[in-house]
Amino acid sequence: MSSTYYFAIVGTNDSPLYETELGVQRDESKYLNQFIVHAALDLVDDAQFMSTACYLKTVDRYNDWNVSAYVTPSNIRLMLLHEAKADDAIRLFFTDCHELYLKTLLNPFYEPNTPIQSQAFDVKVNTLAKKYLF
């Protein structure tokens, strides 16, 4: 199955900390992806007070896209744009990405809410995507 995903981590001040396209790269799609994710943040804000779960499942739709969200305990939003529905796989992907974020945060030199530019992080996210999403 060939499919495309867009994954972003959004800080508490709504600024992107990390983003990546997974799978087939589409030209010109980056800004649209950012736009869709940003628009969905308001819906995450509404949904997050309805439960204490981190995984909020699909919070928004845009044309063929589903937007799924996962909120860490300190309110860092993990957002995934995807076409097919696959709740369980996406939950596992999010949970493992949360763990990567946590380990990044534990470094005293990482300041919360600043971009994560580590290639090691990037490689690990891509490996998780291969494991769970493709």
Binding site: K103, L106, N107, P108, F109
Partner: protein, 188 residues
């Protein structure tokens, strides 16, 4: 002799040491180093400050260590090296570094830190590596301060550091001279 110190250290850790969550300690140290980086904006100044704070700690630690163990004041430099590793490090950080690389004149040795709690979770920024930050430099100050309380004036510095890409972390301790009985003034 080595075995005896090991036993003293373990016994003191087990029975006489009050303990605290290691992660609280590790995060607090990390937060201090980052605070120093923000305050000084200069990595060699951070090294100096960590060494100075360590010295103040080391000066006070000796009495605390003596109070919690059955140690007698030790005399020789080589016995002291063993005490630092097997009693001092054990009692405060719950790890035991290896004493190694004695110089021919027996006035220098190394502590090989196979396991340094302060390093858990830490990766240095490239600029810190380039500018020579010794993240755990506080340990050098502690050793220097403690030895001074035991009448030994020393030079203590990191020569290798895993956080800077070396295979192991090694602290070199060099005896400069034995001091007369005098109480050192604390750095401020």
């Amino acid at each position: 002799m080595e075995k005896q110190y090991k036993a003293i250290g373990e016994e003191a850790w087990k029975n006489n040491a009050e303990k605290i969550n290691a992660e609280l300690f590790i995060f607090t140290y990390g937060s201090l180093v980052v605070q120093l980086v923000k305050d000084y904006e200069n990595y060699s100044a951070v090294n100096k400050q960590l060494d100075k704070m360590g010295y103040n700690i080391g000066v006070r630690m000796v009495d605390d260590m003596m109070a919690r163990t059955s140690l007698e004041r030790c005399t020789g430099f080589s016995a002291t090296a063993e005490v630092i590793a097997k009693v001092g490090f054990k009692l405060f950080l719950n790890v035991i570094p290896t004493v190694a690389n004695w110089s021919a004149d027996a006035k220098e040795f190394s502590l090989i830190l196979d396991d340094n709690p302060l390093n858990d979770f830490c990766e240095l920024p490239p600029k810190a590596v380039a500018d020579g930050l010794r993240y755990s430099n506080v340990l050098c100050g502690v050793i220097r301060g403690a030895l001074e309380m035991m009448q030994m004036q020393t030079e203590v510095e990191y020569v290798r550091d895993v956080l800077c890409g070396d295979d192991v972390s090694e602290i070199r301790v060099k005896l400069l001279r034995m001091l007369d009985e005098e109480v050192p003034a604390s750095d401020d």
